[in-house]
């Protein structure tokens, strides 16, 4: 291996590492706030990327029907609750968000020539379809069992993951796809060529990470999420309901997932089940941080990305094995050093 190849691999590693870092942050966040180990995180990557593919192909993305179905279900549940609690005033808002929003989206996708829109608009449409599935998923699946033990939540996560992969196959078919890159620019940096898309991925990830940091440090809702993660009872006493925190967290997780998918779709061929592997690598990174530390998780993500890139050069058949084996020494080290993630109370 010469220097140039090392640089190329390093570039690959950093690009992938940036995406793993985003996913790792989402996983840590979801776990801290809701105690859910969010296995389906990766599905949002696939759904985001492939929804964009369908939009660019001029088709109505099948995911929008899932959104509508989930919205109807959630509306039915919440309308019943609102009526029982004697708050008919909330009905309008509920139905508006759960039902009218997906319908408006469907109408727009049918009537507008979205296929010919600039890519940024198409991406926004893809996000508009996929991201609301996050809070809906929390409302329908996790909120009713929010008090369950971590293990139960994990088992449910596995079930949700399997269901989403199955639906993904139904929606997108077994074929993989790519999207055109955001830009065709190439930059020479010393001896290597850096593609515009690589820069897009790294810069967008950094921007997103900084934005998230600002959100948690500066805004009231960001602080409310941190408060919920630190002390659930204390947060409830401030009027921060776990349901609100959960929906907001899942919104962010879905946004991060879908955006990651959109970012890597031009570099990697995405299949309906690609997201799972990507999410799993984010998970390895999150484990490096003990599912609790954001900086360690980000560092872990970079490590995973680089390890993957270099092992694909030396032992490409075993690259996944090498990456996932990383989890064993990390877990050993973590459990020997004490303080692991405990079942709460």
């Amino acid at each position: 291996m010469d220097f140039q190849i090392a640089l190329l691999l390093g570039q690959d590693g950093i690009t992938n590492g940036a995406i793993y870092a985003l996913l790792a942050l989402a996983l840590v966040l979801v776990f801290a706030v809701t105690r859910v180990i969010f296995i389906p995180q990766g599905e949002f990557v696939s759904y985001g990327a492939l929804t964009l593919v369908m939009i660019q192909a001029g088709a109505i993305p099948a995911t929008v029907w899932l959104l509508l179905g989930a919205g109807l279900l959630a509306a039915a549940l919440d309308v019943r609750l609102a009526l029982r609690a004697g708050q008919p005033g909330r009905l309008v808002r509920l139905v508006g968000w759960y039902v009218a929003y997906p319908l408006v989206l469907v109408a727009l996708l049918y009537t507008l020539p979205v296929k010919d829109f600039p890519m940024i608009a198409q991406i926004l449409f893809a996000l508009a379809v996929v991201v609301p599935m996050g809070p809906l998923m929390y409302r329908l699946i996790y909120q009713p069992i929010a008090a369950a033990p971590v293990l139960v939540l994990l088992i449910v996560s596995v079930a949700v993951h399997v269901a989403m992969v199955g639906l993904g196959l139904l929606f997108f078919g077994a074929e993989g796809s790519r999207t055109p890159p955001f830009s065709d620019a190439r930059f020479e940096m010393g001896p290597v060529m850096v593609s515009g898309q690589t820069i897009w991925v790294v810069v967008s990830s950094l921007v997103l990470i900084v934005a998230l940091y600002q959100f948690f440090e500066r805004t009231l809702y960001g602080k409310a999420l941190r408060a919920t993660a630190i002390n659930r009872v204390g947060a409830r006493l401030m009027g921060i309901s776990p349901a609100l925190a959960g929906r907001l967290t899942f919104f962010l997780a879905a946004l991060i997932g879908a955006l990651s998918g959109v970012l890597i779709a031009p570099i990697t061929t995405i299949y309906y089940d690609t997201g799972f592997l990507i999410g799993l690598k984010g998970f390895v990174a999150a484990i490096v941080g003990g599912l609790g530390s954001y900086p360690l998780a980000a560092a872990g993500a970079l490590l995973v990305g680089l390890l993957e890139a270099f092992s694909s050069f030396w032992a490409s058949a075993h690259k996944e094995v090498i990456v996932f084996t990383l989890i064993i020494p990390v877990l050993l080290w973590r459990s020997l050093r004490g303080r692991h993630v405990e079942e709460e109370e």
Binding site: A227, N231, G239
Partner: protein
């Protein structure tokens, strides 16, 4: 406000009325058919020995625990109180364990105290915070310190200050003097009196019966999950049974602490 209003339970407007509140932990009934009333602008105290069910009662009123009975707060009856809804309607609890956000700064803890107010469109938390800092100048000095590193007394102040950020109609305090030095206890009770002057109704649970009876208008004695006695605070303070069980001899020393 004359003594007649504070000294009697026959008042015009009731902020909180709890009827037949019963809480069980499994098969054990920790609170049985408690009836309690708090009038507007009143301080009502609940005293009783350890394990009597005082904390249980406050938690149930707030909605942190499941209960049977009725909680009529501010004119609306809640069968089963839900914490967030009670907060939104103006009830706040400073719990026995304080439940501060340890890894966040004092100021962030305070800001979060106004979360519900902010959500319902009242964006005046800067001004409320100024008022809280005036009550507790120590908190201003410590504004950027992490809550988890505060001293016991400072934590207490932060817990009360955080609850005040919500501008509650009814403030429920669970042993605000717990583990505090005599001087700070006095300060806390001075502030409780000050809050009433500002129109906050207070339901106060205390071990420090002497100080509580002195500041309160009306009092309940809770023993093994049941209301054993009730009456105007002055009257209870003179009741031989209360003196024997809760005020005790050597009252001189406590008297000094509480004034």
């Amino acid at each position: 406000m004359n003594a007649n209003i504070h000294g009697s339970n026959l008042i015009l407007k009731t902020v909180l009325e709890v009827r037949d509140l019963t809480v069980s932990y499994g098969k054990v009934e920790a609170l049985s058919n408690a009836n309690i009333k708090v009038g507007e602008g009143q301080i009502v105290t609940v005293i009783g020995p350890n394990g009597a069910g005082k904390t249980t009662m406050l938690s149930a009123i707030m909605g942190l625990l499941e209960s049977r009975g009725k909680v009529d707060f501010d004119g609306t009856i809640e069968g089963v109180p839900v914490v967030e809804r009670m907060v939104a309607r103006g009830m706040n609890l400073v719990p026995e364990k304080r439940e501060l956000f340890g890894e966040m700064t004092v100021e962030d803890n305070l800001v979060l105290g106004a979360f519900q107010r902010h959500r319902s469109g009242h964006r005046d938390h800067a001004q409320t915070m100024e008022e809280v800092y005036q009550l507790f100048p120590r908190l201003r000095e410590r504004r950027s310190q992490l809550a988890g590193t505060l001293s016991g007394g400072e934590r207490q102040m932060l817990a009360v200050g955080r609850a005040l950020m919500a501008k509650p109609k009814l403030l429920m305090l669970d042993e605000p003097s717990l583990g505090l030095a005599p001087l700070i206890v006095r300060e806390i009770f001075r502030i409780i009196g000050e809050l009433r002057r500002r129109g906050v109704s207070i339901l106060l649970v205390e071990q420090n019966a002497r100080a509580a009876l002195q500041v309160a208008d009306y009092a309940y004695v809770l023993e093994t999950g049941e209301i054993a006695m009730e009456g105007p605070a002055r009257q209870l303070a003179d009741d031989p049974r209360v003196i024997e069980a809760y005020l005790g001899l050597g009252g001189k020393h406590q008297e000094m602490l509480s004034t």
